[in-house]
């Protein structure tokens, strides 16, 4: 169970942005190619199949949280020391005085 918990499933903000952009590019490209190819051979079913292939490729490339979408993690602040547990929350600037 701990092994499954240890699998990272998140994308960082930059990764989310790139995943969305990449999926749009892949599907649009396959759509354009499919439209041209379907028009050349005069079969619209081929257009639909090519769009379907683009969908599958985009799903494989951009839906799972691959490591390339986790290269720019946010730098979170360090956890507060345990001593401040239970104390009323103040703004960090005052507490550091």
């Amino acid at each position: 169970m701990d092994y499954f918990r240890s699998i990272p499933v998140h994308m960082d903000y930059d990764g989310q942005h790139r995943a969305e952009k990449l999926s749009r590019i892949i599907i649009t490209l396959f759509g354009a190619v499919g439209l041209i190819w379907g028009y050349i051979i005069q079969r619209f079913s081929q257009t639909v199949y090519i769009v379907g292939a683009g969908f599958v490729l985009a799903a494989i490339v951009t839906v799972p949280p691959w490591p390339m979408y986790r290269r720019k993690p946010l730098n979170w602040q360090k956890p507060r020391p345990a001593a401040s547990k239970g104390a009323p929350i103040k703004s960090p600037r005052k507490r550091n005085d």
């Binding site: 998140h10 969305e20 999926s23 759509g31 769009v51």
Partner: protein, 179 residues
């Protein structure tokens, strides 16, 4: 886009929107195609009988029997936005009772990929050629026309009348023997 499900949802929605756009482009690309072509029609046997129409008022009505020849090459009608053709052969005539009667005598479906070159000799009609009175006997000007519906992937459902029609006359005597 933060979770697996939201990313999956986003690409499914985008794919479907794109597919709708492509379908619309396919419709636009065939909007101005001229689907008319030539059909050669001829009648072989032309007989008229007077028989009771039990499907209606049981009065004696004129029932025409014809066989026909039909040649047409419809291969060029198929493009990427045509799924099938529905052909129908219509007899048009006017009588004293009716300014215009149109009777569908025969029809045929041609699916995409099937042979679209028609060459029929001495074909029987599929449907009865009833008049609603006695307007067929001795009628001098019955016009046969071939027409078709284009069933598209997306867009309009046009009904096209073929170029080339055939006019014939019914005999002035009823046939009483079996035909």
């Amino acid at each position: 886009m933060h979770s697996l499900l939201s990313r999956g949802n986003a690409i499914v929605a985008y794919t479907l929107s794109l597919l709708a756009c492509l379908t619309f482009l396919c419709f636009l690309s065939t909007l101005f195609v001229d689907y008319r072509t030539i059909a050669a029609i001829n009648t072989v046997k032309v007989v008229v009988k007077s028989v009771p129409d039990y499907s209606a008022a049981r009065e004696e009505c004129d029932l025409g029997f014809i066989t026909f020849d039909l040649q047409a090459n419809l291969t060029n009608l198929f493009n990427w936005n045509v799924k099938q053709l529905f052909l129908y052969l219509t007899a048009e005539y006017s009588t004293a009772n009716n300014a215009l009667s149109q009777v569908v005598l025969w029809d045929k479906i041609i699916l995409r990929g099937e042979k679209a070159i028609l060459d029929f000799k001495n074909m029987n009609t599929k449907y009865y050629f009833w008049d609603d009175g006695s307007g067929l006997r001795g009628h001098q000007n019955i016009t046969l026309t071939l027409a078709w519906n284009i069933i598209p992937n997306a867009g309009l459902l046009p009904s096209i009348v073929a170029r080339g029609q055939h006019s014939f006359a019914f005999p002035s005597n009823y046939t009483v023997t079996r035909v």
